[in-house]
Symmetry: C2
Subunit: 340 residues, 2 copies
């Protein structure tokens, strides 16, 4: 049995999306059991809408929601919040594999660092979301925002952890890893990039294909982009933002005249498919790589399907033995001493 905790607050559609997603995920895996944290009464009320195997869902009362007003490192200490409670269960109970949360990224990060802790040899845990590419395979970005400042060794570890994640969770064979840079030539970029390039080139357990420019993120040429958390965050959010604005623009176009409305009717099915394709809610979340137990950050405006996908990700990471694989890989590539 694989046991995962679902923090039932903090999302735009919480707790109903969380509870519905939890029930949906339960249907996909027979050996999955879930612990839901949040207001017990409210969650039980939500659960009463569904038929599910009652033996596989436990509710733990933690009625408070992490506040965005409070500093994340302080907020995560309030044991009555659904997120802190979820963290506590993950930390204390050996048979719990990890947690899924839609709540504050800052608080989740603080909790992951302070309460869950790092795997052996991991310098810094990092976020690794997967964006849909035009060929349907998807591309991972690591780190997408956990570490604004990085050393070359961090980047090397992101490459190793991200590769293992794609191999084990999604069946990628020898994922193509590229370093995010401002040009493709080997001598491009700042000191961090120049040093990281050297390190990545000499890391045998990854399939390093060189520098990449952000323009090529969605083309499907690459499987994993390695970067510091600052530029990774810029990469992720500007891509999401541009796609979103394009979709809005299309919507306006489709409704701007009668002629356009008629044309849009013909195209409706395909357009909806495109919209679905670009909608990150149809995918999973940003997993944290390098923490002792699994932590998956689900988008704050995730719907039930998004939550179910995130639980599925956590399940697959655990079932595939991702953390053991990361620990083993990093043992062979111990970090250098570095002063950067």
């Amino acid at each position: 049995m694989i046991k995962i905790v679902v923090d039932c607050y903090g999302g735009d559609y919480s707790p109903s999306a969380n509870v519905e997603g939890a029930v949906e995920a339960l249907g996909s895996h027979e050996d999955l059991s879930l612990v839901l944290t949040g207001d017990e009464q409210e969650i039980n009320k939500e659960l009463s809408r569904f038929n599910y195997d009652k033996a596989r869902i436990t509710v733990v009362n933690a009625p408070k929601v992490i506040s965005h007003e409070v500093k994340p490192t302080v907020a995560i200490k309030d044991a009555e919040t659904s997120m802190a409670k979820a963290m506590e269960i993950v930390r204390k109970e050996d048979d719990v594999a990890g947690l899924v949360s839609l709540g504050s990224t800052g608080a989740l990060l603080a909790g992951a660092f302070l309460k869950v802790g790092r795997l052996k040899n991991v310098l810094r845990p990092a976020f690794c979301p997967i964006l849909p590419t035009m060929d349907g395979k998807g591309v991972g970005i690591c780190d997408s925002g956990a570490n604004a400042e990085c050393t070359p060794d961090y980047l090397k570890q992101f490459a190793i952890m991200g590769s293992k994640y794609l191999e084990i969770t999604y069946g990628f064979k020898s994922p193509r890893v590229a370093l995010l840079n401002i040009g493709t030539e080997e001598d491009k970029g700042d000191r961090l990039r120049l040093e990281a390039y050297e390190l990545l080139k000499n890391t045998e357990c990854i399939n390093f294909v060189g520098n990449m420019e952000s323009r090529n993120l969605l083309t499907g040429e690459l499987d994993l982009v390695v970067c510091d958390g600052f530029s990774g965050n810029v990469l992720l959010k500007s891509t999401e933002g541009a796609c979103l604005e394009m979709l809005k623009m299309l919507k306006r176009t489709f409704t701007s005249s009668l002629k356009n409305k008629i044309g849009a009717l013909f195209l409706k099915k395909s357009i909806l498919k495109t919209k679905d394709f670009m909608d990150y809610r149809n995918y999973g979340g940003a997993v944290m790589l390098g923490t002792k137990k699994i932590v998956v950050k689900c988008h704050g405006n995730g719907v039930a399907k998004t939550v179910a996908n995130c639980i599925d990700q956590a399940y697959k990471m655990q079932a595939g033995g991702l953390n053991e694989a990361i620990e083993k890989a990093l043992e062979q590539y111990a970090p250098r001493q570095t002063s950067v």
Copy 2:
């Protein structure tokens, strides 16, 4: 008379797009004269296709093209290349306002730093392209790639120079300046961002509105995004890339079935308008801010219209007295001593 040099090589459609763009620009401004550098014979042949005021175009022979194979700092020293020749004319001739080039960004940067030089008090010249926003106003990004590593003082200067550029060249009133960051709260980001935030907050001659996330680049909420050249480059290229991939996807959708083709026919006019709107070739180039004379980098795959727009930008910068305004503004805000 405002005199601008046009480097006629280095673009995908050079020299024909350059020459056609030059002639087009000439038609827009009566007091504009142009110097075209490149293979004299070839350029004259291109020119012979058009009717134009011959007194206002001079051709200077420089038959070689900057090679992408050669290191930019070396390539720019070859005086027989069209770009080096353009730089030389800009440097030597007092009555020349600046240059427009479609060639290698690296060589252009090297030339701008080594041959054109910085304005008084400018720490680092920076690139500032303008992207189309959904409200049609556009948003500047400074720096978009000239300086991969930055100090807080550089960022402050980018904010001042970018603001003056938008005011003088495009008539923005008190442009809204934001700092690119990984969250909107004041305490977000790395040391560079934290220090830059403090500096920007206390710079009275700009309209600083706080941190911004890359997700909001195209919404029209902002006029100028200030960032280091590395993350600015990621921001610019990932936005361009995402829009491009979306357009490709739409094109596939529109032709994927008979039904879709019919729908697309109804929408054709509007879709072409959207496509035009997103096509950066319909806009100008990335201007360099902070160089002694004007330097405009035109996109390598620019067409005649793009070249004409870039010449128009250079014209307006000169006509509006941008460099004098930048020098004056920076005098009042001399950089701190900094060790970052």
